[in-house]
Symmetry: C2
Subunit: 81 residues, 2 copies
Amino acid sequence: MKARVHITLKRGVLDPQGKTIARALGSLGFAGINEVRQGKTVEIDLAETDAAAAHSTVAAMCAKLLANPVIEDYRIDLAEG
Amino acid sequence: MKARVHITLKRGVLDPQGKTIARALGSLGFAGINEVRQGKTVEIDLAETDAAAAHSTVAAMCAKLLANPVIEDYRIDLAEG
């Protein structure tokens, strides 16, 4: 079973990487950019085949290692295979 | 219009960040992890309201700045608002 974890900074948390990308895009001539925010994804290929068990395992991974719950939100998508 | 760009390393490209996460999860006691790969997402809030125009702008941003087409694949999702 494959899990994809999307980790994004919470609204209101300053995102210097996003600001830098927005500035770089502007200097490349792209106009009309209101905001850019950067996040990360972690794709985990698990031996577990039960969706509910996989979800709770991945949620525990997020809480212990993958995400910083003080400043980040995360979303877990599961897919077969 | 909001665009979300998902950037992942191409299959076959070594992913040391993913390997490190897999090892760290293993040492935290999580078993049954076949593979971990890390990617990134860039959320861009555009003034453009036409989906086709927004898509081609974001594809140009990917080609010029956001992704390295030699080693990375990208996927663009568009959403209203």
